[in-house]
Symmetry: C2
Subunit: 472 residues, 2 copies
């Protein structure tokens, strides 16, 4: 009797605290979930704890990290269209089978090949100096002698619009847009060349999309608009962007010679699909995903080796632990994400008539540092269910609503499929992103293993609960 | 009367607080300074405030920063023995005269020239990969075809000693010593090649001397011991050092091809001396200094453009403010510090019979970030006087006792001359040091101007007080 009073008291305190907690964390949703469902979700506490213990404390996570580190050191950068990417895909197929899961298949995709050749930028005026440079993916080459032209430093698309075409014509435009957020600033990389070309520029450069630099240029995809003259485009460091800005502010004439030689083509690649078949609804999928390709610099350890490995690991470890959820847990290792979600678009196209079978879709492509929770897109009820599930993982229970979680999976979320991306302590992510700095040194085993544990356990719960995640 | 009581009360509180403060900050010294001297030092409060106000608030510091930024952007890297270094020295001479101080002279010094040519490291086994590399200053070249050899990764000199010569002979030694402090770890850079050579190595590499990297190699001086076979030596990034370490730990055979081509020679350079003549003891010097040369990468903005400019500025601004201290304030822009304190050694040698005239010697060569105080070497009384002077600059009043302040001035401090180096918030200094990352972006005008204000004002007080700084 005493015990019961005490228990009621504790529960009251707990639920009050929890209530406040929910208001703080999930204050954009109003939840009215059925008590039965709440209790059902709470009943997963033991199994999620078991899964995470097996991964974190019992050596499974350690083995995964070793396989990850070995994969990254063996293959390094895995650009779209390269032989090394295909070899790395073969390796992951074999590794899946070696880890006891034979249900692995691939789906062929035609992907762009873009091979970086010699690249250089030489400052000629106001005085000779080498400028570190990295071409942007899909950029055209310069003529063999390069392009020698005056530079105009422009802070924004607005400033470009306002500038008279005669001040742009025949020049190299340097977009010196300071990093605010990736989402905000990346358009200078993806659209800059086309916008500069329309005003008559002969080449364009961008200030690298990063908040911090040790003289490191950052590459990434760019896209030429139709019917626009394709001009060569590349990124320079924050340091040199600032230098050129200072020269322009002092009225100095800046002349650069830009040389870029690339090879373009099309190749075959593959999305890799690893299934842990559901015991009740094998046709229904909870997809966990990351992309296996990377840029051609660094090792692609962070982007997206980490996200790829923890997603691959979810069905693998659940199978090793003899846990069969009701629905199928499908890991997808997307190919050719970097040139523009090529693998994901092919999957969407191929499975366009089966989209109703995707119960929930997850992606990790923004780092595998210390996990914090999920960025979730979906209906109010969908988000309430995920919020309830996240309570099992406190303190890894943060839930945000950016509207567009993930990279590849945005294509599916746009179709109304509920989905989520991994939130993690990735404050320094863009320091290394798409640069030579994206190596195993950025990663640490404790964080990656924690991410893997959270990722596997939460995908299990979503795949196993009695109800589907409702759509809008 | 009320006022007097209040004053006494405030002074009591103040001195109590101060007393506690002194114990916290300067607890390695016991001071018993004459009250007259304490009062004399305190009487400089107004003039130090005036100097600092003129620099920080009245535009003089802003002008200096503009001259600094312009100097760095115009000349960039200024390696020992280069024409650009000599041009930058000419520029500073002219700038001194333009700023109203004609008492500028130079003293010729013979300095080493070491020109970096092509450098590359290619991993051949376990698989092909480019390794970013930067040769260490004074390294010999490889044969034209490079040196192709197996790598042995060694953590410390102790481990090297323990390793059988047969395991070193014919190999490339990689010193994979993790950064502890610069002082502790830099010996792998300065002595590594000789120690490896003695055991039969054909080349040596070091893990760059830095606690943080975005795939950035860091150069620096190295010194061959006499009668040791000179082997090529270079630095690689933390990322690749860790990669090679992981390969070795897995039992993989590592083979590298190292190519390095350099030109060696001797050239004439100059120490630059800017005097603000003392009104009572013009033959006595308070020296403020920094080095004008830099490594051949980055812009040499931080190392030591900042220290050079604030030291140059001390006599210049005091002259502009019509402040003539009792002793001469002499700014020295050392040449050829990076290859091994060449300019400072020449000055010491030339003035060896006049060392008693150096009352105090200061150097800024560890950054010009937010100023914190001084690292002071000298007798107990000397340090008590400087501590008392530092009180004028609270909260910039920290005093440490490393035993060897500065770089160039260590040669003078070793001779018993009291001296100090600038303490500043330089926690990230070695992230950029001796790399392409040492650019104007590392600096900010507020910090550099604050350093300049502190540096000029404190050198004025030391040059003007009634007593010399006593020696041991």
């Amino acid at each position: 009797m005493y015990l019961m009073i005490l228990t009621i008291f504790v529960l009251t305190i707990h639920s009050l605290t929890n209530a406040k907690y929910i208001v703080n964390r999930y204050d954009d949703i109003k939840c009215n979930l059925d008590t039965k469902l709440i209790n059902e979700i709470a009943s997963y506490k033991n199994v999620t704890r078991m899964i995470m213990d097996e991964i974190i404390a019992n050596g499974h996570g350690h083995n995964m990290y070793q396989q990850y580190s070995n994969f990254i050191d063996t293959f390094g950068a895995r650009p779209s269209g390269s032989d090394i990417l295909e070899k790395s895909i073969d390796h992951m197929i074999n590794l899946t089978i070696q880890n006891g899961l034979p249900t692995v298949q691939t789906e062929e995709v035609e992907v762009p090949l873009w091979v970086r050749g010699h690249e250089s930028v030489a400052m000629i005026k106001p005085h000779p100096k080498n400028i570190a440079v990295i071409g942007l993916g899909s950029s055209v080459s310069t003529p063999p002698e390069g392009i020698t032209a005056e530079v105009i430093v422009i802070r924004s698309f607005k400033e470009l619009e306002k500038t008279d075409d005669n001040n742009i014509k025949g020049k190299i435009v340097l977009f010196d847009a300071h990093y605010i957020t990736y989402g905000n600033t990346v358009r200078y990389r993806s659209q800059g060349a086309s916008k500069a070309s329309k005003k008559g520029a002969v080449a364009s450069l961008i200030r690298s999309i990063t908040p911090f630099s040790i003289y490191s240029p950052h590459t990434g995809a760019q896209f030429y608009e139709a019917n626009v003259t394709k001009i060569p485009t590349a990124a320079i460091t924050l340091e040199d962007a600032d230098l050129l800005r200072r020269f322009q502010d002092q009225g100095e004439k800046i002349i650069l010679n830009i040389k870029m030689f690339n090879i373009h083509g099309l190749k075959k690649s593959r999305n890799t699909i690893v299934d842990l078949k559901g015991k009740e609804y094998p046709e229904k999928f909870v997809i966990v995903s990351g992309h296996i390709d990377s840029w051609d610099v660094g090792q692609g350890a962070m982007d997206d080796g980490g996200g790829m490995i923890i997603s691959w690991f979810a069905p693998v470890i659940l199978n090793l632990l003899h846990l069969k959820p009701r629905r199928t847990v499908r890991a997808i290792l997307w190919t050719s994400e970097e040139p523009g979600l090529i693998g994901a678009a092919a999957y969407l196209n191929k499975h366009i008539n089966e989209l109703s079978n995707i119960n929930f879709i997850m992606e990790s492509d923004e780092g595998t540092f210390s996990p914090q929770g999920l960025d979730v897109a979906g209906s109010n009820t969908a988000r309430c269910i995920i919020a309830e599930i996240l309570k099992l993982f406190s303190p890894v229970d943060k839930m945000t609503n950016s509207g567009g979680p993930g990279s590849d999976i945005t294509l599916f979320v746009e179709k109304g499929i509920p989905g989520a991306s991994l939130l993690n302590e990735n404050e320094r992510y863009f320091w290394f992103h798409h640069s030579e700095g994206d190596t195993m040194n950025v990663q640490n085993n404790v964080d990656v293993i924690d991410c893997a544990a959270f990722w596997a356990a939460i995908s299990y719960v979503i795949a196993d609960i009695s109800i589907d995640i409702p759509r809008h």
